[in-house]
Symmetry: D3
């Protein structure tokens, strides 16, 4: 199984378990998370850039993978994604570089799906 | 080997190596860590809630696993653990969600041991 | 004006401005934040312990002040608050100590109001 | 002196001292920082959104102030800035809220200059 | 009163209050903190470099001030301190720069005492 | 394949891909990163101690591995590396301990290469 499918399957399976658990705080937070990236005053693309770059400076590999998947769906080019990640890496410092490596690897896998 | 045993075995093996290394700062820190979760002005259960939620907002998967194991031993219900993690995820933001997934998965594994 | 009143007034004034601004994501997040600390499967006191300790390990002075105010209202003793903050400081490391100093100072001010 | 001018003056004064100190690593990092926000594959506006939201999730008040100043210069509306900060606060959690308060206050001051 | 004396006085006053409070976890952590920077396998100077740079990447202004004071006592030159802070800023990213400004300002104040 | 070789190979492969991507911000940041650890006002050994300890408090396992590899090359003894990591763990708190376990494990693997 390729790593993109593996990531998405695990994410879906666990999200389902989490929502089934029926904790009100978590359910509302998940609901808010879904709505927050919808078109609003800012475009969906601007919001994804925010999601991707915040995920990278906070060094959350899974969050980066999720937003990379969305960025591809929205038609971002490889050069645009690299530049967004370049700015984020500068903000977050060289400590971000190992996460940048994984992000580059996952983006390549997304392109090959 | 199941993931609970794997986690505990690795943790024990490495703790032993670390303590054998005989660095004074590390030994005293480990000793303090053990004592801090003992019954005191706050109950052991209150302290575990603090340990679990701090581990989650700081996004340390292994720390979360350790405290989940302790929470089960102390008789916390699944609903209580979920609620504590819900509050922590709200404090720490959606960046915590991937770690919440792993925490839910591990709690399930603990229940199945 | 004492520092407790100053903190609460600024907090109220800005919260009002933020909610007036009418951004949907922010409004829902504030609403969720209010509800999350209500009595649930966990007691209000347990939730405040979580809020206080997470605020301290994340080194957010204003969040610590807010939860200290709540802890006093809920009847936590000074020794209990100190112990919760002790565990959190151990988890978060000596980097937390300057925030612990401010927390001790603010707790003293709360007691003198 | 208003807080916008105070912020900018302190920032300029200290940047000058830092660059005069002539440390090669720091000078090159400052230089890279300046260039990174120039028009590139991504627009200047997209880069400022990244800068603002990363600063907020990393809870750096001064960084937020700087990028808010840039956002105003670039013609972002209040609603757009609020939405970007809303997404970032959701990603970073309620721990970000005290920094959101300061950001709202500073944006208001920028508008009144 | 100059800012160096103000910093040291506040620190001493609050440390005394914290230790008087007699919480065992906190007292032992403070004790360990004091001992950790003593001469050991690594020299006192090497340990201060570690303390300073860790404080800077974790963006704790008060911790940076404390270690800058120690660095001056130990005979570090301005160029050495700048270089250590340069490496740390690179590791931690441009988000560290506002804290670097305060560090440069405080170092200057230390030299003028 | 042993874990040291695996780590180095992945790191080299991905660095090459990242640099081939030819994003200017990233290339300059990588270049600055390489130069920053060269002999300067501070010795190479002092800089590696900074790199190692900052990596540990920021809890970046791959960064820790990289700097451990360099520390071995530079002739640091096991006791010195342990002490540097002890100080860093104290600064960063018990949340760092799981990363300390991995660091001890990797150092042992480095010694066995």
């Amino acid at each position: 199984m390729n790593s993109v499918k593996q990531f998405n399957d695990y994410r879906s399976k666990m999200n389902e378990k989490i929502l089934t658990a029926d904790n009100l705080i978590i359910k509302r937070l998940f609901n808010l998370d879904t709505n927050a990236y919808q078109e609003g005053t800012l475009s969906v693309k601007s919001k994804e850039l925010i999601g991707l770059s915040c995920s990278l400076v906070l060094r959350c590999d899974d969050c980066v993978k999720y937003h990379l998947g969305k960025c591809l769906e929205l038609g971002f080019t490889t050069a645009e994604v690299h530049e967004a990640m370049g700015v984020a890496t500068l903000v977050g410092g060289t400590i971000v570089i190992p996460h940048l490596r994984k992000a580059f690897e996952y983006w390549e896998e997304l392109l090959n799906v």
